[in-house]
């Protein structure tokens, strides 16, 4: 459980998180990045860049 850096809502994850994983805040739907898994810290996910893709 951690606080959403966007809306300060409580983010609860159903599976063990992993660093660099992208999760979603169920309150504000913001995309968040798991910065550290233990303790769980979250940051707004990076914006999509021009050269991202497959």
């Amino acid at each position: 459980m951690a606080s959403c850096p966007e809306c300060e809502g409580t983010v609860v994850l159903t599976e063990p998180p992993q660093a660099s994983e992208i999760v979603e805040c169920s309150e504000c739907m913001a995309e968040l990045e798991v910065v550290t898994a233990e303790p769980l810290t979250l940051a707004p996910a990076p914006e999509v860049e021009e050269d991202w893709g497959e």
Partner: protein
């Protein structure tokens, strides 16, 4: 046997990366996730601790440099830097496909927007303008006629990046509301899906829906040859059917995303498992070379460029 260490390079761990890492674990491989945003190395420094690196970096520029850095140290990177560079550049992909004699739509490169306009006149309308680098169908533009093309070129002409003004143009293949994705791993086609969409761009990232597609010998053969043409061990090959059923290779993706594909094919294909299996095979080869009596204290084969 020597334990071979594997790294998964990725700045963004999506469901696909999690599935791959779980599958690596099931293969008994010791792996670690390396966040590319924190990775650096000196030029010419001793080899890093991983025998095999699976490059799942989402940012193309960073993926290419990561692969180049690791290969400079003598490593095996999947996909290779050369394959990543080729797949990430649509023009280089087109050249590789043509050189391999594979069917691909008529394509031209204009070295200025004005030159591209002339190329479009030669190709005929409707046609497609694509950014050289980019994915998910982003900025891919269907131009209906010369008026529209001239306006698109005006926009391109004022973009700040010099590469944006090198313009890739292609004939439009009148596809039946879908294209085909074939995933190739280690020289073998593992499955295929149709990608249906309401828009003319049928990228899953743009909302297209993946549905099962029979993996015919024609599809499999073409996809395997396309992956080989760009040198990709792991590839998502995009094909399109023309109105008369002819198949064309559109592009080859080096960092294949497969969540939609996996949902469509269900249990019949385990994409992450196949990728992990390929990495495991490479790791076994590296370990065997390290354990060979004459290997001494030399680098594992993977790092010796074997």
């Amino acid at each position: 046997m020597t334990a071979v260490r594997v790294a998964v390079f990725a700045s963004r761990v999506r469901a696909d990366e999690k599935r791959i890492m779980e599958a690596l674990g099931r293969h008994g491989l010791r792996y670690e996730h390396v966040d590319t945003r924190a990775y650096w190395s000196f030029a010419g420094e001793p080899r890093p601790p991983w025998s095999i690196v699976l490059n799942r970096e989402i940012a193309h520029t960073r993926a290419v440099y990561a692969a180049r850095m690791l290969e400079a140290l003598g490593g095996t990177v999947v996909n290779s830097a050369a394959a990543t560079e080729t797949c990430g550049d649509k023009w280089r992909t087109s050249l590789a496909l043509r050189a391999a004699g594979l069917p691909t739509p008529r394509t031209a490169l204009g070295l200025t927007p004005d030159a591209a306009l002339a190329a479009l006149e030669a190709i005929g309308y409707p046609a497609v303008v694509k950014p050289l680098v980019g994915s998910w169908g982003r900025l891919v533009t269907r131009v209906q006629d010369g008026h529209m093309a001239a306006t698109v070129m005006e926009y391109l002409d004022v973009l700040p990046a010099p590469q944006s003004r090198i313009v890739y143009v292609q004939e439009l293949v009148d596809k039946p509301g879908r294209d085909i994705r074939v995933i190739v791993v280690g020289g073998e086609a593992v499955g295929a899906t149709y990608r249906h969409g309401d828009q003319w761009r049928t990228n899953v990232a743009r909302g297209a829906e993946s549905r099962p597609c029979p993996l015919t010998a024609d599809l499999a053969g073409l996809a395997v040859r396309a992956a080989a043409a760009v040198g990709a061990d792991v590839a998502g090959v995009d094909l399109v059917e023309s109105g008369d059923g002819e198949l064309f290779v559109l592009e080859v993706n080096h960092g294949v995303e497969f969540s939609g594909f996996q949902r469509a094919v269900g249990d019949r294909v385990d994409v992450a498992g196949r990728i992990a299996g390929h990495v495991a095979a490479l790791a076994e080869r590296a370990a065997a070379a390290t354990d060979a009596p004459d290997a001494g204290d030399a680098a594992p084969a993977a790092w010796a460029g074997a």
